[in-house]
């Protein structure tokens, strides 16, 4: 009998029908097994998560107790239970960094970052590690990675704090230009909170941008007109900008307890009250101011030279004679002769500069005489 004969083929057909039924049964078994396995795997996952949480808690306690090595071990075990849980990995990296294992901490964070390159916390932790190593470029890159991803709405303040941190880091490493960029971004999005404006203003001042510093201090003062810190800051920023009238206005209201206020106030007062070339003063007043300034400068230099400073030169000694000569040559003429007055201002400035160089520190009046000369010299130019 061949395969094609009816008896044989019908047997095979019956076998195939039976096989189809058996396959169907197997598929049903597989489906049931799938759900059973999935449920068991889920409970296993729960168990691992619970283990992870237990180790994490233990690590936190070890860390609080100052047992960093035990904390590292506990956090490592926590990450086993849930390898992608950012909290655990960040805690591990933090503990490693505390233990002085910066490289290991970096590797842990970089490993996690591969799965979540835009994670703020990871990038921030990497930035701080790089900042600790003084690697400005890398730190700035990770700070930017953290800053330029979308942040949750309720974390705007944190984002602002991170940008401030970056600006401080850049300023600390002498990177003024990028720091100013960060500060400008920061200033453009500040809410009407005087404290925030004041902090940004301080950073602008530290970066040498007194214009923006003054703007931000004034912003703060609009919301809180009697804020002492802002008054002092605004006064000092205005002083640095040469806006002495505005500086005096703020410094007069600023309390003495704030460092530098008294000094700045004296300086401003001298610059305004001792300026022989100030507008709207009479000729007599101008002559008096010039005489007084020159006398002060000459006395300062004489007193200084009397102590016999080793660095004194003949040119320094000649300045005293120059002062006497100027007094003799222009006695009574400076009230009308503006050129002579300017020459007197310049001479006083040169004398106090020399005196300050030979016998520091400079007094507020010394600095005032220099500023007066600079003010008019700049405006002449």
């Amino acid at each position: 009998m061949t395969d094609d004969e009816p008896g044989n083929t019908s047997d095979q057909a019956r076998l195939l029908r039976r096989q189809v039924l058996q396959l169907s049964a197997l598929i049903l078994v597989a489906i049931a097994a799938f759900f059973v396995t999935r449920s068991l795997a889920a409970s296993n996952r729960e168990m691992r998560l619970a283990d992870g949480a237990a180790w994490y808690g233990r690590g936190q306690r070890d860390l609080a107790a100052g047992n960093v090595k035990a904390a590292v071990d506990a956090f490592r075990r926590a990450t086993v239970g849930s390898r992608t849980d950012t909290r655990y990995v960040l805690a591990l990296a933090h503990a490693l960094a505390l233990d002085g294992q910066d490289d290991a901490a970096r590797r842990v964070l970089l490993g996690l970052r591969e799965t979540a390159p835009e994670n703020i916390d990871i990038n921030l932790a990497l930035a701080r590690l790089a900042a600790r190593d003084g690697d400005v470029t890398t730190a700035a890159r990770y700070y930017h990675n953290a800053l330029y991803v979308p942040w949750p709405d309720d974390q705007t303040a944190t984002r602002r704090a991170v940008r401030s941190e970056l600006a401080d880091f850049l300023l600390a490493h002498g990177r003024t230009a990028p720091a100013l960029s960060e500060l400008l971004v920061l200033a453009s999005n500040l809410p009407a909170d005087p404290a925030l404006h004041r902090d940004v203003a301080r950073r602008f001042a530290a970066a040498g941008d007194n214009r923006h510093a003054l703007d931000e201090f004034e912003h703060a003062l609009r919301a809180a007109p009697d804020d002492d810190e802002s008054l002092a800051g605004a006064g000092q920023a205005a002083l640095a900008l040469g806006d002495y009238a505005r500086a005096r206005r703020y410094l007069d209201r600023a309390p003495d307890r704030i460092a530098g206020v008294v000094d700045a106030r004296q300086l401003v007062t001298h610059v305004i009250d001792d300026d022989p070339l100030a507008a709207r003063i009479g000729g007599t007043a101008r002559a008096n101011r010039l005489r007084t300034n020159l006398a002060y400068a000459a006395d300062r230099l004489r007193a200084c030279l009397a102590t016999g400073p080793a660095a004194a030169t003949d040119a320094d000694r000649a300045l005293d004679a120059d002062a006497r000569q100027f007094e003799t040559a222009h006695r009574g003429s400076t009230a009308e002769n503006e050129d002579a007055a300017e020459a007197g201002v310049d001479l006083a400035s040169r004398i106090v500069t020399a005196a300050t160089r030979l016998c520091p520190p400079a007094t507020p009046r010394d600095r005032a005489l220099v500023l007066i000369a600079q003010r008019h010299g700049d405006s002449d130019r």
Partner: protein, 594 residues
């Protein structure tokens, strides 16, 4: 109208379709079994040890729990000791893919008990045996033809491994390379389908998490290749130490009295318990520590210590007969060794280098390639785990060196060597077998092989030998061969006045070899080995190299005549030049390719 297909052809097509669907179902079931097995081990280990086990617990649990496991392994499930891969290979190559129904269940139970109790072993090998066992049972139940039922075994093996490692490509390669022994096997399609089905199921349950979280590594400097080559050499040496150590320790356990079989896993468990007290990190699978090594989370000293401890603990666990695999331990040992080498290179190399984690990654592949002897699988496995193309070149360099060194000094893979130790001699892979001549030892041998009783006196044996004009006599009882004594030995013993002593006294208790062939050996091999045999060449079974199926004498060869062939083919034989054999009997076998 076109003619319809003949009815028989239609039926055959439907059988193909059924096999295809069955491959998918087997893939799903094998994948589920592998996931379930891993979960069960995890749960058992967690419940037994808790978060921070005490020293006493670390010692007692593997010791005590190995007692019932040992009893189960010795009495109810004798075929599931060790990893299960050698048994699966033997079932596919020698037994038509037949695996008893109790094997997958026994493997699951004893595997969970062994690995969960802290034995230093992995779940992958057992998963393969469980999957293959299920496939074999289902194939028979569905009534597939014997060939089709046999084909399901490697298909299920691929699926189980794919699920266990989450590496579908490497799993398929492994099934072809190791189980079938032929990368061109026609089962490739079915293995791929089953592997994919298994991985889909596994990922839908466990998520698409790779086995290890590995940062992106690459070759930092071309000179680093030299460092990776050194790692390959170290990996090769470690593989060699592992294989030799395991086989040696296994032999020691096998030489213990038979009644100790039930307690051997407990002896292993006790020794492993001591190791756990010293280094708890070598417990069980240990992938969490591999993960740490890959991510640079372990220090040099820790990795070096764990490498040695894991090697020792795994040798003890495996040789004692506990149920568990060697894939995970080999990855562990490799990662620790690689990480340690990486640390040294990173610190002292005069050129920029990658992180130690990169070396740990490559180290995993080198030791795996050296121990399991599947170089393609090892490369693809690491590639799939990392999904990083950059690491391939150093990986291939290191893997090949490790593979070559290991193969040079330990010709058989560990799985084949274990089978040889159990007197199971695998036939050559299908492709080589097909190329061989169709005339085999079976056609030449005489089935009525006379065995000399070991209790017979030497004088009687010499007389019978002279009467038969045979140049050697096979000593054994029934069909069971104990060894061989040549006529010269008999004559010398007689001359020494030892004629009254029993014949077994002439068997060398330390000799582990005797020349033999298997019934499927080509006639060229028979001729070649006959020259080494002393005049009588036993033909023994492949599944039990102690069972004599026949004998070939000079008369048989003369009667047959040497076949004329244009170019004598080199004999292809997977067996080693010298194979060790059962320790219960002093003699052993030579399975020598010429």
């Amino acid at each position: 109208m076109t003619n319809p297909l003949p009815r028989t052809l239609q039926l055959r097509l439907r059988e193909h379709q059924i096999f295809l669907v069955l491959s998918i179902v087997i893939g799903v079931l094998a994948g589920l079994a592998a996931v379930l097995f891993t979960v069960a081990i995890d749960q058992t280990s967690h419940r037994l040890f808790g978060l921070t086990p005490s020293r006493l617990r670390l010692f007692l649990i593997p010791t005590l729990l190995s007692v019932p496991t040992g009893v189960l392994l010795a009495t109810i499930f004798p075929g599931v000791r060790g990893s299960g891969l050698p048994q699966t290979k033997a079932a596919y190559r020698l037994q038509g893919g037949f695996i008893r129904a109790r094997v997958p269940f026994g493997k699951f139970l004893t595997g969970v008990l062994s690995i969960g109790a802290g034995h230093s072993m992995g779940p992958e090998g057992p998963s393969v045996q469980i999957g293959a066992g299920l496939a074999s049972v289902i194939g028979r139940w569905v009534g597939l033809s014997p060939t089709r039922a046999r084909d399901l075994v490697p298909v299920a093996a691929a699926a189980a491994l794919a699920s266990a490692f989450n590496t579908p490509v490497a799993a398929v390669l492994f099934a072809l390379e190791e189980i079938i022994g032929d990368l061109n096997a026609p089962l490739l399609g079915s293995a791929v389908i089953a592997s994919v089905a298994s991985v889909i199921v596994e990922r839908s349950i466990l998520g698409n998490e790779p086995l290890f979280h590995v940062p992106t590594y690459h070759l930092v400097h071309p000179a680093e290749l030299a460092a990776y080559a050194v790692l390959g050499v170290i990996g090769g040496v470690l593989s060699l130490v592992f294989c030799k150590g395991l086989l040696g320790a296994r032999l020691l356990f096998r030489r213990l009295p038979r009644w100790t079989m039930s307690f051997q896993p407990a002896i292993g468990g006790m020794l492993v318990g001591l190791a756990l007290i010293a280094a708890p990190a070598v417990m069980g699978v240990g992938y969490e520590y591999v993960d740490q090594a890959l991510n640079g989370g372990l220090l040099l000293k820790t990795m070096a210590l764990l490498c040695v401890m894991k090697l020792v603990a795994t040798i003890i666990s495996c040789s004692s007969g506990a149920a568990g695999g060697i894939f995970a331990p080999s990855l562990y040992i490799g990662a620790m060794a690689g990480g340690a080498v990486g640390f040294v290179v990173h610190r002292f190399a005069p050129f920029p280098t990658g992180d130690p984690g990169a070396y740990a990654l490559v180290g995993m592949g080198t030791v795996f390639a050296g121990i399991v002897r599947t170089p393609m699988t090892s490369v693809f496995m690491i590639f799939e785990i990392t999904q990083d193309y950059q690491i391939l070149v150093p990986l291939m360099v290191a893997n090949m060196l490790s593979f070559l060194i290991s193969k040079r000094y330990q010709p058989l893979s560990i799985n084949d060597a274990i089978l040889q130790q159990d007197d199971v001699h695998l036939p050559p892979p299908a492709a080589d077998q097909a190329a061989a001549t169709s005339v085999t030892a079976r056609a030449l041998m005489r089935a009525d092989a006379p065995l000399f009783d070991p209790a017979m006196t030497i004088a009687a044996a010499a007389a019978r030998s002279a009467q038969d004009r045979s140049t050697a006599c096979l000593v054994g009882t029934g069909r069971r061969l104990l060894g061989m004594v040549t006529a010269e030995h008999l004559a010398a013993a007689l001359a020494a006045g030892r004629g009254a002593e029993p014949l077994k006294e002439l068997l060398d208790p330390d000799a582990d070899t005797f020349v033999h062939v298997h019934p499927d050996h080509p006639v060229e091999t028979v001729f070649d080995r006959f020259g080494q045999s002393g005049g009588v060449l036993p033909v023994v079974s492949r599944t039990d190299a102690r069972r004599v199926e026949g004998v070939v004498t000079l008369d048989d060869l003369v009667a047959f005549g040497r076949p004329r062939r244009q170019a004598p083919k080199p004999h292809v034989e997977p067996a080693p030049p010298v194979s060790t054999s059962a320790p219960s009997t002093p003699a052993s076998s030579i399975d020598t390719p010429s």
